[in-house]
Symmetry: C2
DNA sequence: GTTATAGCCTAATCCTCTTAGTTCGTCAAG
DNA sequence: CTTGACGAACTAAGAGGATTAGGCTATAAC
């Protein structure tokens, strides 16, 4: 159910998520969906959770067995790939944190998934021997750059024909060098 | 008209923009709005244009008379301030580039405003003696970081209590150092 | 003074989400 | 085998929101 909804949203954009469309995909009348989900907001909450969990899992996998620059590049690449493959899910993942009226369980689980996600990034930074507040600020900086890049990319906000892969590479390299420098100084 | 809509969207969030609410704010019935605007999509297009123009103007003002690090910090701060003061407008500004069916004029004007916006950032980078593709990649990196930061900030995605101003400062500093280094090497 | 236009209105249509109440089939307990 | 509970579908109905069509009035242009 949530899977089908995820397919819909990834294929046709976040605005295309409607109970009517979802019911159609199941060959069922709209009100019948209320036997399985609390409503549209609820469904969004479930999708958000799903997105966070998938993203976290991908980053985790990308990070395992790597350290330093390798880990950074792998995790960043995994992040961007996820956003490309699941634009709808990715969009919801960021949407208003505790938004409205998700199922309480979903909201809690989403918070936990988000925390694990930050954990993964932190673990990458640990490879640079960063700890404490420095690591937290660096995590924020990295998340901001990653999210900003894929968001602008998805929105088509990068007008020029300049190679996006190169831009992304450089952005990550920028972080790498800053982290390496900070690390060698500490 | 568009101004009132902008107030609405900044006060109550992007989802609260409805023709009904706008008509209410004017003490008028919903269909009457069609004498002034082509429809909801059209209104969004006009708002997007307005947001881009305001943002561009602010960055422009922040950059004038400054160079190098000063200019970078001022422009970045102006960017973040705008997003804080006009969260609704800012959100639309990024929304799908040529989205759907804006008025053609608006779409063109929005493209032009976006181009001018990039121009401002490029002019800041020129203070670092960056030119050509390097400058374009750096512009993308900077835009990505700025947008990502304010977007995550607005979404409440930065969970921890850690001071956001400090995080932002460090992010900008990161770009500054990278630019300065690149500049001294070139 | 007549006409054109701008801008408002009501009425009506079409969507979407949502709730309430009903029906039907399955499955376990007696 | 009967019966009762439960899950999951349905129809009916209502509340909003966008949009179109057609009609009324006032003001500005000739």
């Amino acid at each position: 159910m949530v899977e089908r909804a995820a397919d819909l949203i990834d294929a046709d954009g976040s605005a295309a998520l409607s109970l009517a469309a979802l019911a159609g995909a199941f060959g069922v009348r709209t009100p019948s969906l209320y036997n399985h989900v609390g409503g549209l907001d609820d469904l969004r909450g479930a999708l958000r959770l799903r997105g966070l969990e998938m993203l976290e899992q991908r980053l985790q996998r990308a990070a395992v067995g790597r350290a330093g620059r390798d880990a950074l590049v792998a995790v960043a690449g995994a992040y961007r790939d996820f956003a490309h493959e699941h634009p709808g899910l990715y969009g919801l993942t960021l949407g208003a944190g505790g938004g409205e009226s998700d199922t309480v369980r979903d909201a809690e689980a989403a918070g936990a998934a988000a925390a694990r996600l930050v954990e993964v990034v932190l673990s990458v930074l640990r490879g640079y021997r960063l700890e404490g507040e420095d690591a937290l600020h660096a995590t924020r900086a990295l998340r901001a750059s990653l999210h900003g890049f894929v968001a602008l990319e998805s929105a088509g906000a990068f007008g020029l024909k300049l190679d996006l892969d190169v831009s992304f590479e450089r952005l990550i390299d920028l972080h790498h060098r800053s982290l390496a420098e900070r690390s060698s100084r500490g």
